[in-house]
Amino acid sequence: MNETEIATGERVTEGDLLVILRHSPHGSSWLREGLDTALVAAAFGQRVSLLFSGDGVLALLDGQQAGALGQKGTHGVIDMLAMYDIETLLVDAHALISRGLSTEDLLLPVSVVEGAALPKLLDQHRLVLNF
């Protein structure tokens, strides 16, 4: 799978659950609670894909630390994804570019998805949860 294939829709990611993450690591519990849902679904044997969109792309930034608020942050969870067989990591192209980021700034290898490919991506999952 590469970004061209996804962008042109020739090959589309399939799965049971697509979790869309739209919030940054610190400042709210949305990202952590969304990731928790993904981990639990994977632990129950579902095929899980993650789509990082909006500020959610910041979850993948390299060099993160625990926050000043005494919370654990989410980078530890990101590191554990492979252990849970969550390997389909998708990033919204616009979210990345508009924040001046490229895939080289990220912790893990990801597939970049163009906006035009999103409807098909949603369609190819049995369940979509938005956080």
Binding site: T37, V40, F44, Q46, L129
Partner: protein, 130 residues
């Protein structure tokens, strides 16, 4: 059709819970089944046993309980999200050495696996977030 709802907005803080309830009533009025409501994120506060809104405002907790009584809808609360926010049933309150409990049946503390299960086993899962 069989519906499940995911409620993620806190009661009285955002429109999400009010909208979810109105949608829930519309679903059953149209002859569909509403089997499950799952409360997650700040939505767990809908289950607060001690909520005491002013009498001239809708009582969201009572409205959820009525839905359960009349239509058998399960009211599931994520245990991890609930415990962090102080929502404990009698058993969890005892386990954590708390003087009182803040959640009682028909609301049930349950795991996130139930959310995934509800999403995959119903015809529709509709999310209400702030």
């Amino acid at each position: 059709m069989r519906y499940a709802l995911l409620v993620q907005g806190g009661p009285y803080s955002s429109q999400a819970s009010h909208s979810a309830l109105r949608f829930a009533r519309a679903v059953v009025e149209r002859g569909h089944r509403l089997d499950t409501v799952f409360f997650y994120h700040d939505g767990v506060y809908n289950a607060a046993r001690l909520a005491a809104p002013p009498q001239d405002e809708p009582h969201l907790g009572d409205a959820w309980r009525m839905l359960h009584d009349e239509h058998g809808t399960e009211l599931l609360v994520c245990i991890a999200a609930g415990l962090r926010r102080g929502l404990l049933d009698e058993r969890e309150a005892a386990r954590h050495g708390k003087a009182g409990h803040s959640l009682e049946p028909p609301f049930e503390l349950t795991g996130l696996g139930q959310l995934v299960e509800a999403g995959l086993s119903h015809d529709r899962l509709i999310t209400f977030s702030p």
